[in-house]
């Protein structure tokens, strides 16, 4: 009997355990399943571009009337019973419209208009069916509209931003995208693909889409649009880097296969979207490029130079109307020129007046295979050159980490970064340029997963006879660039050995 009871107890325990396991799997699946993406409508006008949420009512898509018209001017929506009165006061014009709960007909500027489906409200806000937004905006603005219903993108007036694509063959191959107006997409990279996502720009597809290229490293590009966004996806067979120039009108995608990868590296690893993932990306390239083919290659060792600020972010004003963003770009270009004279390739993260967020800089830097990252700042306070390596006050545990935490990715590279900092101090001192090695929690430095340094160039401590203007002096900038170039040449061996 006791064995029977024991057997039944074991059976219950086993069933209970299986039940808990099923529950756990269900909870995990629920937790891991992606949340439904919020539906959005993008509206592009000559004055402004904006996105508004799209809500579902009885399976039909609606947008809030106030959300739709508020960016056009001062909009007021008042309710009287089941009737709603909209008044939009824009510079030089006033527009009035009337809607009624449950009514498919509205009165806009005194004229009746079919909405397609009934206007509805939730007591606080009025909603119009999404298919009526083109007609409504056309009546509100008195401009022609183009509504791409499938992708929920509404163009008011002639606001299209067009672009052309051009492959520049060389070492490495480049895809140059020229836009008819400045753009500022979000850039994301993954093995074999660079994505440019346009949230606010009315970018429309080029004549041929998708476009194939006669290039070993940049294979094709395709334009797609969905949920109020446009995207250009560029297929590459090697790790790629997107840089901005021409005041945000030009984006250059540089894709480079490694010149020579150790055989061991080619067979290692699975992809990981972590800051430290670039070795995996680099290892995949030769296989994808095709065995036995000559691929124009970016050297294994190259430096990524990031001119801080740019575009909408001018940085500090350095006197005489000089902006920090212009000085940083000038110094970055001089460093590139100096490095090229030494046979070291340097790539500028921005080679024009483009706006890049701190996160965008870190994403681009981490996606590249650069051996060293330099961020250039300029100031009129203090003297000489201030050299900042990262500081981690809380202490970061690095042991057995597969993924690096985004905000402290630099912690894994502090030793080579500080070694380069010390080398640069020596080189600057040799040129009698005052330098201060410092630490800081600056971004994007903290998030860079490679040896990295932030360099703040200040006025020279004492002006040599050949330097007249201080910070903006070509001779002074060249001296600093030479010190940076020399220091990079000094540490190149140790960085390549990593």
């Amino acid at each position: 009997m006791s064995s029977h009871v024991l057997g039944r107890t074991f059976c219950y325990a086993s069933a209970l355990r299986r039940y808990f396991q099923l529950c756990l799997v269900a909870i995990l699946l629920l937790g891991l399943s992606p949340a439904a993406e919020e539906k959005r409508l993008a509206v592009y006008t000559a004055q402004t571009s904006f996105t508004i949420p799209v809500s579902d009512h009885d399976g039909q898509e609606y947008v809030s009337l106030t959300d739709l018209v508020d960016p056009l001017g001062n909009a007021t929506l008042t309710r009287k019973g089941n009737r709603w009165k909209l008044r939009v006061a824009a510079p030089g014009t006033t527009m009035e419209a009337e809607f009624a709960d449950g009514d498919e007909v509205a009165k806009v500027r005194g004229k009746k208009m079919q909405l397609g489906r009934a206007f509805r409200s939730d007591g606080q806000r009025g909603y119009v069916p999404i298919e009526s937004v083109a007609l409504l905006m056309s009546a509100f603005t008195r401009q022609a509209t183009d509504f791409r219903e499938n992708s929920r993108r509404l163009f008011v007036g002639n606001v299209n931003t067009t672009y052309t694509e051009e492959i520049t063959k060389g070492n490495p191959n480049k895809l140059v995208l020229h836009f008819s107006a400045p753009v500022n997409p979000t850039v994301s990279t993954e093995p074999g693909r660079v994505r440019l996502t346009f949230n606010r720009e009315p970018v429309i597809p080029p004549g041929a889409n998708p476009q194939s290229f006669d290039s070993q490293t940049i294979r094709s590009s395709s334009f797609s649009e969905a949920n109020g966004e446009a995207e250009i996806a560029i297929a590459t067979t090697a790790s790629a880097l997107a840089t901005f120039s021409d005041n945000g009108r030009t984006i250059t995608v540089t894709a480079s296969a490694p010149a020579a990868q150790p055989a061991q590296a080619q067979s290692t690893g699975t992809g990981a979207a972590a800051p430290g993932a670039q070795p995996t990306q680099a290892a995949k390239a030769p296989q994808a490029a095709g065995a036995g083919t000559q691929v124009p290659a970016m050297p294994r060792f190259f430096v990524l130079v990031d001119a801080a600020h740019g575009g909408d972010d001018p940085g500090a004003t350095l006197g005489n109307g000089l902006l920090e963003k212009d000085v940083t770009l000038a110094i970055a270009r001089r460093i590139r020129a100096d490095l090229e004279q030494r046979g070291i390739t340097a790539v500028l993260l921005r080679d024009g007046d483009a706006t890049l967020s701190l996160d965008q800089r870190a994403v681009n830097a981490n996606a590249s295979r650069a051996s060293l990252y330099l961020c250039i700042h300029a100031t009129t306070f203090g003297t000489g050159v201030h050299l900042y390596s990262a500081r981690f006050s809380g202490g970061v545990k690095l042991a057995n980490r597969v993924f690096l935490p985004w905000n402290s990715a630099q912690a894994a590279y502090l030793d080579p970064s500080r070694n380069f900092q010390a080398t640069l101090v020596t080189e600057l001192n040799a040129r009698q340029i005052h330098s201060q090695p410092l630490e800081s929690t600056l971004e994007p430095l903290q998030s860079i997963a490679k040896p990295a340094l932030t360099i703040e160039v200040a006025e020279p401590a004492h002006l040599p006879a050949d330097i007249q203007e201080g910070l903006s002096s070509v001779a002074y900038q060249q001296q600093i660039s030479a010190a940076v170039g020399s220091a990079i040449a000094d540490v190149r061996g140790s960085l390549e050995a990593r």
Binding site: A316, S393, L438, A458
Partner: protein
């Protein structure tokens, strides 16, 4: 020929006109002085009474990139959070002196200081002018953060780190450079004089 009485009248009127002109200029000068006095919105004294104490403050030197220590006598409340705020008021008023080596906007101020994590972390809420009028540059901004953290650490026992928020909200940078999303330790190493 102008009659004598008429000539005398004209001379008297011209003299009166000149006198009124001079008096008008005098009034204008007075009004300008009054406006200048009213425009100075800098707080003149800490609103605390009682015996004064020695407050250690850290004064950055923007030109040399250094922090120097100074002691100032000030009346401080006993409550730690009010005391921390008062200490920072004293520090900022030093920066607002006309001969300051680390000038900051006249309207810059500390709204509140919150002590959290058993008094180990100070969250300093400054007003928008503090950040908006701050000079832009890595070193000047880092000096501000280091001086605030050092001053808190030197005067309020137990504080180990500081975080700055602006008008009650987190902000990415102070004036385009110093990272305000991070904490600044009160024992932060800096070149001191």
């Amino acid at each position: 020929m102008v009659p004598r009485n008429l000539a005398i009248t004209i001379v008297i009127l011209l003299a009166a006109l000149a006198g009124m002109g001079l008096y008008g200029l005098h009034l204008r000068r007075q009004a300008v002085e009054l406006l200048k006095t009213n425009a100075n919105t800098k707080p003149v004294a800490a609103p605390v009474s009682g015996p004064t104490e020695q407050v250690t403050v850290f004064i950055p030197d923007d030109d040399h990139g250094t922090l120097s220590q100074r002691t100032v006598a000030a009346a401080l409340p006993s409550d730690p959070t009010l005391r921390a705020r008062e200490v920072l008021h004293v520090l900022i008023s030093q920066w607002q002196e006309s001969d300051s080596t680390h000038p900051i906007g006249n309207n810059a101020d500390v709204n509140e200081v919150f002590l959290v994590d058993n008094g180990k972390t100070a969250v300093v809420n400054v007003n928008a002018a503090f950040a908006d009028e701050h000079r832009s540059g890595i070193m000047v901004e880092e000096l501000t953060m280091a001086a605030l953290a050092h001053t808190l650490g030197a005067n309020i026992g137990g504080i180990q780190q500081m975080k700055l928020i602006v008008d009650g909200r987190e902000r990415e940078t102070l004036a385009g450079h110093a990272n305000l999303m991070d904490f600044y330790p009160t024992n932060l190493e800096w070149h001191s004089e």
